[in-house]
Symmetry: D2
Subunit: 445 residues, 4 copies
């Protein structure tokens, strides 16, 4: 199945849905065929409204058409590319670029001119992403939208805004709605997260209005926090920020499903580190309180596959973790800690998927240039926290002086920056002890 097949397949309208889809495509073609700059916004508004009115099968058919009919012409593309190969002149280049760019992109640009256009396009991409498994031929639509949205929501066009209790309610309710890492339990919880010892920043884009793109929540603390529950406690006392020396990034949330795959988090964290550093001279440490979402799953998988004594011990560990109540049992907890902290350090610093760390959160922060700093036992005692990472949380530190170098080493050779504590812990982990042992005999032989 390819795009051309689709074209053939859709050549004759068969039913009402097909007719609605064809009519919408026809309107899109009008918008494209006009020299749009002279037609004003009427057609763009109409076209957008028509698209948004499509329901169920109508929409499916229309997206099929959009994927098939507005892709570049294969023959002309080949012709233009071959001409450019023979003579790479500016004229041939211009022609090649023009022929290869899908008409969809121009269509989306013209739709975007209508009021609410950007929002509508983001929302379309969200819908298509949810249907992509069932409709793989829509991939080019997703790609075209991603291409344009990446360009339009370029860092240079975003504005960073501080969110606090003076922010309009229409924005605040979106934080409550979007927060994905540590759910906000209503307005009282939100208010605590915006008190004087907290900071919240979001990226906005003019065309998305009050709807944030991404936001980060920061707690100003005395000493680096290892536990997240105290930070989330709505009744906790407000710290005098004069006494704070750490900025703990405890939640970062991408708000727009329709922008999935377009990265904003890295820019946001770095900007906030810079701004907070300028504003509050007393803050020396910028670090996250992060989950280790893949730890337990990894542990179970190695327990299954490991052999001999090691396999036995790992399986034993997973069984102990499955017993309810261990976190409250000081002795059990301590014994688990002895084994799990080293395993966690090992997991984060050495276990890979391809060349990058297996853990997605680790991947994100390490790629950004952060350093894996500390494992915190019982850092997140929520059910999810216990289930995903045996309650462990970790800190990644963003040190301005090192971020560049860490990032470059990571990009070049996937080097993972870790603190001495983490390095020491990892060495004590079962896999690394085994490996060390495995090497030793050979040497002694």
């Amino acid at each position: 199945v390819n795009l051309q097949t689709l074209i053939g397949f859709r050549s004759r309208p068969k039913d009402d849905a097909e007719r609605a889809a064809q009519q919408t495509l026809s309107l899109c073609r009008s918008l494209l065929s006009e020299r749009g700059e002279f037609s004003g916004l009427r057609l763009a508004k109409e076209c957008l409204a028509r698209w948004q009115s499509l329901q169920g099968e109508e929409l499916v058919r229309f997206l099929d058409l959009l994927a098939a009919k507005l892709s570049p012409d294969p023959e002309k593309s080949a012709e233009a590319a071959n001409a450019y190969r023979l003579d790479p002149s500016p004229v041939n280049l211009a022609r090649l670029i023009a022929v290869v760019e899908p008409l969809r992109q121009e269509l989306f640009r013209r739709l975007n001119a209508a009021p609410g256009g950007t929002k509508a396009l983001v929302s379309m991409r969200r819908y298509i992403l949810t249907q992509l498994d069932a409709h793989p031929l829509w991939a080019p639509i997703v790609a075209d939208l991603e291409h344009l949205l990446t360009s339009w929501l370029n860092r240079g066009f975003l504005s960073l805004q501080r969110i606090d209790w003076r922010t309009p309610a229409v924005v605040l309710e979106k934080l409550i709605q979007y927060e994905a890492v540590h759910e906000i339990q209503g307005w009282r919880d939100l208010r605590r997260r915006l008190e004087a010892d907290r900071r919240c920043y979001a990226f906005f884009h003019q065309a998305l209005g009050d709807d944030p793109i991404i936001f980060v929540e920061v707690a100003l603390t005395r000493g680096m926090s290892g536990k997240v529950q105290p930070l989330l406690n709505a009744d906790s006392p407000v710290l005098d920020i004069g006494a704070a020396n750490c900025a703990m990034f405890y939640s970062i949330t991408n708000c727009q499903e329709g922008l999935r795959g377009i990265p904003f988090g890295n820019f946001l964290i770095k900007q906030v580190v810079e701004d907070l550093g300028n504003e509050l001279q007393q803050i020396r440490t910028f670090a996250t309180v992060s989950p280790v979402p893949g730890f337990c799953a990894w542990l179970r998988s190695v327990a299954r596959t490991a052999k001999g004594d090691a396999g036995q011990r790992l399986t034993d560990l997973t069984l102990r973790l499955a017993e309810p109540g261990w976190p409250e049992d000081g002795k059990k907890s301590e014994l688990l800690k002895q084994e799990l902290e080293p395993l966690c350090a090992h997991y984060l610093s050495s276990v890979r998927q391809g060349q990058e760390p297996l853990d997605p959160v680790a991947r994100f922060h390490l790629r950004n240039g952060a350093r894996l700093e500390r494992v915190n036992w019982l850092g997140d005692t929520s059910p999810v926290g216990l289930q995903r990472s045996a309650g462990m949380m970790v800190n990644y530190v963003y040190r301005s002086a090192d971020v560049e170098r860490n990032h470059e080493l990571y990009m070049k050779e996937y080097h993972v920056a870790v603190s001495k504590q983490i390095a020491g812990l990892a060495k004590k982990s079962l896999p690394e002890r085994e490996e060390a042992q495995a090497k030793t005999p050979r040497r002694s032989a």
Copy 2:
């Protein structure tokens, strides 16, 4: 000479300028090679600063490199296009698009993320445009910038702002600096143009800050103005806008040379017509007071080429126009008017370049859907006005009910919408009388 030749030609650095250019390109490659989303803005800032520091020959060499080295690879392009021809699958399409898009575009997107990036890119394009005749191989750079800027400055991302005496001085001084149609003679002149019986609107984009993209000046008048000097008189009394019934667009200025070729005027006029219509119910007529910049040049050219009696009479006309003082001589002026008004109506409605009107101002407004309404004798008695159009000004009317249809007829068959008065005048013009005569005998034969 083609882009590949250039690549070969520049393969070995020869001197200091070449070295500086190569180093800058190398920095650009770093910015590109990094997975930019994770490198923050440092590299973008550095790269931008380096580029902006290039002087004279260094800049020339760098732009040569930029044109040559960051264009798509001809071989790979052909290969990808041929693969897409054989199998137009989403994957092949994605690959083709990726290969054909010049790396320059991604470079510009990443540069744009730096503070001041958009301004810098607009300024670069302005520079390159001025040098394009001498450096035709830079055309792809211009094209890439145009492509991106058109997308970034999409109508949906522009904000329309009213300019008045409450506007910050930093913006107002730019109007004084940019106004190209009827120069603003200092602050006192500007203040009159922003009084209660005037309107001024501009498009702004967040990334360009206080620097307007385009602005239009409107006078609210009683009756349609045919003469521009009274509108420009800084000492004229301010009209009570309750008494006004016309909105006269007497000046529209594109501010940014670096955005040449990207159309904004059409959107601006239509938006202002709509907004003013909503705000001031008493305004019934929206019209321009426009110059006819190509009239005299055209007249001289037909006078040179026309034969017989007609040629004689046209030559005679041009001679009389060359005599100084005729505008003040009532009788001479009246005689000229009898002949020139019809010729002007004919010139605007029937004289073509290709299929579109020869006159550039006519082309712009007619394409937008306006109607050519009236010729105004001695509408612009400035030296330039006399020289370009024998002092005539015309009105183009934007009637909401007709704009769409006019525009469509124009786009479809280059139909020029004119008032009865204009149609009547044109028929009396020498060329149309001759043509009519030429036809008559044949019929009678």
Copy 3:
């Protein structure tokens, strides 16, 4: 006991509290004795801080001193007044005014210059008002503050702002906190009250920042609402405002206890009527949905004092109202309605306290120029509504054309403007029927 006694009484400091009070007064005198305009704000800030730090008995003693020591000198006042009587010259007038103005007023003006000064003074007045019964000699302090605050919070200095879901949360949470008429049940309830078919406006003063002075809540409805519960239902559907023709004022709340006695409500209602009338041409009726807070209390009191048959019937009524569940019993409710609606109309239009209506809400709206329009049976079925007014609500209508005249007639002769319906109802009420009967026999005699 008079102010002078107080002065004598406090002549020797006796204990710590007295000492703190004396020291604070001394600081006040410094602030006064300096030619304050040249001392900057240091002293004002210090004085304010000292005052605010006073606790319990310290504060009581200080307010005693403030009442006694900074009042005008009786001897000098008499002397200046007698001089002015003998020779009412500008100089003698100026002297009299200067001598009679309490130094407290100048003290408050200078304190007000400090950041947060106005807020602090409003807060002081609130405190003193709560203590006035126990400390009647503090009345002059209250009066001086009222005099200044009335002048400072003059209508000309207030700004009217619309409150909606774009308003900062810091303001919205104050609405939740202050709303006194129909309590706001959290953010969800508030959000419904700020939807598209609602309006909320508040007066703000720059010196009070985000803290509103007074706010009014309005529902845009189709037809005049007689029942308040539907308006308060957070789940009610949002009306398309194009279909609305009435603006129902269902709640008006004075926010600042410290401003008690300073009227803002009248200005607010009239401004909102004017603004809404301009904004929404389709709104023809501006009316309140108001409680009748004094009705049941009045009914019980006349039942106690009325004699004979009437007394019996009124007592019977009060007993039937005391039975729980009557509102749900259609028959009982209908029988009560027949008697109570006329009584309510009578109560509001004819029962007086002095010359003005006894009911405080009636007093407020009738004085403003509104007309008593309609009694609504079971308009407020909340426990409080049933208890205060047997569940009845009334509408007062603000008709721009009549407001002036109604107001003037009210001010001149305490004329109460009522609709025909109300006038008819009142005539059917027991007291008016009795009165009519009482007159008839005499006539017939």
Copy 4:
């Protein structure tokens, strides 16, 4: 002549002007007699409009009435004051205050509620001030307005705003119009005064809108400026403010004639010193570049009255100053400097009017707590500068650490704070040398 005489005199309307005045007064009484809080703004607007429409004699008569009829009643005032003397109770005090307050004040408060009310009242006061010499009985009106405006424009209600090139033109043109110390020569001059090495701040009040109350112009310089012409040079290069270490206050202008006598300058200077000190850590010295407006007049007067040798020398000085061209003649200038600088130091530090310095500028800054720092020879070579102070300018320094103490010493004992340099100079002045000599013989005798 007193206010009562005026009352008698105006008892019968005599002519049209009198009638207009009486009618306006009658409208004022309506506004007063109504319980204004319930009448809305209609009456206030009408009353204000009527007043503003009065012309010539009408206005004179009206102001006569306003002075006479709305002053407190002499009999009632005396009665209330005597009652308060006998029993200084809160009730008697309240009554006394109520009787003595001129009804005018309440009238003005109610007028102020109308849109534009404050502006109108300021403008009325300006007019009356210009007529006060001819109409001394209007003094109470002026006093009442001053009382209210002082209270309304309390420091706590003013906002300090920075003025720069981003400020709306409507404000900037007012600076050009108002600047009284060193006239602004159009927009180019203004622009230089708002460059990066300058600061300009103004106080605004919401009710006066864009119209500033007072503004100050500051130059950031390297080293303390003694000469004003370089600061005023529109072509001077802009200093990198990183290199600046002094903030020179070179102009302070009260904008509103109608607010004459209400002090704002002291607050403005201190606030700006504080804000600039916080913003720019590198600024160590805050000082003025001030004229010595009374110096030459004083010199001439002492020259006239001094006897013997001293009189001769002073007369000689005045003659040399009267010769044109001396500032350009290095030798003459140097000789004058030797004598005039000491005289100027003496004049500013020791010559008094009553207990305060004779020089008005010195009085203002010394009272504020500044220190007289330095005399600058040829600091102002403009014609006015030469004529008033022989071209000398002086610096007053505001040192935060000393301002309080200087101010207190000045207020207590009229102590003038001077630098060592000034003290040394003054001792060398002719009068102080003579005085010293006069004392010496006596001691030696």
